[in-house]
């Protein structure tokens, strides 16, 4: 997996964690079980730093697609996009260039190969 994809995956995981920590219902449940969630601002600063490491166009694509999908970066398993579960063409391009990524032709999600 190229470094840009890895950074995107980390960003996506961080975004989910931040969203959940800010979700009143989810946060209350975790806090009632004894898990404090006081470091949201720290996570937001980490997110800012991480976003700066990602190519601007790629980041914009991710941010745009995040408004549509909860998971923008998804794995490919057996030539199937695990975002929309549609098959990918056999000759689908593998991204050798560290600054480009492969998108699902059906849903547009950013793909990574396992």
């Amino acid at each position: 997996m190229n470094s840009q994809l890895l950074a995107l995956v980390a960003l996506q995981d961080l975004d989910l964690m931040i969203r959940e920590a800010k979700d009143p219902e989810q946060a209350t449940q975790e806090e009632e079980l004894g898990f404090p969630l006081s470091g949201v601002e720290k996570l937001e600063r980490t997110r800012e730093r991480l976003a700066k490491q990602i190519d601007e166009r790629l980041l914009q694509l991710y941010e745009r697609m995040s408004r549509r999908y909860a998971r923008v970066v998804v794995p490919v398993e057996g030539r199937v996009c695990l975002g929309c579960f549609m098959g990918l063409p056999t000759a689908a391009k593998r991204n050798a260039d560290s600054r480009t990524v492969e998108n699902c032709e059906n849903c547009g999600r950013i793909l990574y190969r396992i």
Binding site: M1, L6, V9, A10, Q12, D13, L14, L16, M17, A21, Q26, Q29, E30, L33, G34, F35, P36, L37, S38, G39, V40, K42, L43, T46, A70, R71, V73, V74, P75, I114
Partner: protein, 166 residues
């Protein structure tokens, strides 16, 4: 107190379903929080639960930055959802000497339940497992028995019995 037959008859909780003998570290080698997380993530990677160990480790570290998962009384439940996780899993580890885990009560941690799952929004099973772990180890005798249990099968039975008693 349930009888042996009633324990057999009842349906398994989510937590028991996910407790597997391969996902058990009887005695952790590491003594510090950061290296314990590393050791446990390496175990998950070895069993194909983590696609990339480093990336999952980073997510768990970020979760600790959000707030320590050392909930006190010698228990920690590090947990995170990550794109790098292939399936929902619980890894149980014990440390007889104890691990410094920035726990709420500052006491060393002896039992660590690591929960990982793919990044599905509002995953009710994930939250139920967190709640079941907290319930299973709420009482001191239960914690002691789990720590002293001779093997994984005994721990699994103890946890099942504890949850059915509630």
């Amino acid at each position: 107190m349930p009888t042996a037959s009633s324990v057999e008859r009842r349906s398994e909780t989510h937590l028991e379903t996910y407790l597997r003998p391969t996902l058990f570290i009887p005695e952790l080698k590491s003594k510090k929080k950061s290296s314990v997380l590393e050791e446990m993530v390496a175990h998950l990677a070895q069993h194909q639960i983590a696609r990339q160990a480093d990336a999952l480790l980073e997510v768990l570290r970020q979760r600790e930055a959000l707030g320590s998962t050392g909930i006190g009384k010698g228990i920690a439940v590090p947990h995170a959802r990550s794109t790098m996780v292939t399936e929902r899993a619980v890894l149980l580890a014990r440390s007889s000497k104890g691990v410094e885990f920035d726990a709420a009560d500052e006491s060393p941690v002896h039992l660590i339940f690591m929960i990982v799952a793919p990044p599905v929004e509002r995953d009710p099973i994930y939250l139920q497992m967190l709640a079941q772990i907290v319930r299973a180890v709420r009482l001191a005798p239960a914690r002691r028995r789990i720590l002293e249990a001779p093997d994984f099968a005994a721990i699994r039975t103890l946890i099942g019995t504890q949850l059915s008693d509630e």
